[in-house]
Symmetry: C2
Subunit: 82 residues, 2 copies
């Protein structure tokens, strides 16, 4: 069993309105020294497979089919034995 921790972020070139809204809210709370906020998704997905390569291949496939929108998002993930 493996636990994949996956980060899905908007590509650098894509505008992040949620991040901008949070940055404005932080400024309004007095944190003027925050020049940039980007927001993404964080997923913990367990995969019942024995070997690391198969688990990595499946996580990659799940990201590209469902978890990330490859047109506007990038993903990275790490595997730990669970």
């Amino acid at each position: 069993m493996w636990k994949a921790t996956i980060k899905v972020m908007l590509k650098k070139s894509v505008l992040d309105p949620q991040g901008q809204a949070v940055q404005k809210a932080l400024h309004a709370l007095g944190y003027q020294n925050v020049p940039d906020v980007r927001i993404g998704k964080y997923l913990e997905v367990k995969v019942a497979l024995a070997d690391r390569e198969s688990a990595a291949a499946q996580v990659r496939e799940m990201c590209e089919r469902l978890l990330a929108n490859m047109v506007i998002e990038d993903y990275t993930f790490e595997l730990t034995e669970a």
Copy 2:
């Protein structure tokens, strides 16, 4: 300047309907070997401060005031020089 990478997750005891929905979708796509999915937020926040302690203190404060709902969520963060 520091870059804080922040993960905000629902507490273990709180139901995660978004995670359950994604798990069902993965099952429907044929990934039956996924017993658990949890979904949270991932934030990259830049903070213009010189020393690490002040940056960490400010990130903690921002998380507790705005970025996480401490009633139902937990957060962790890491700082890297940016």
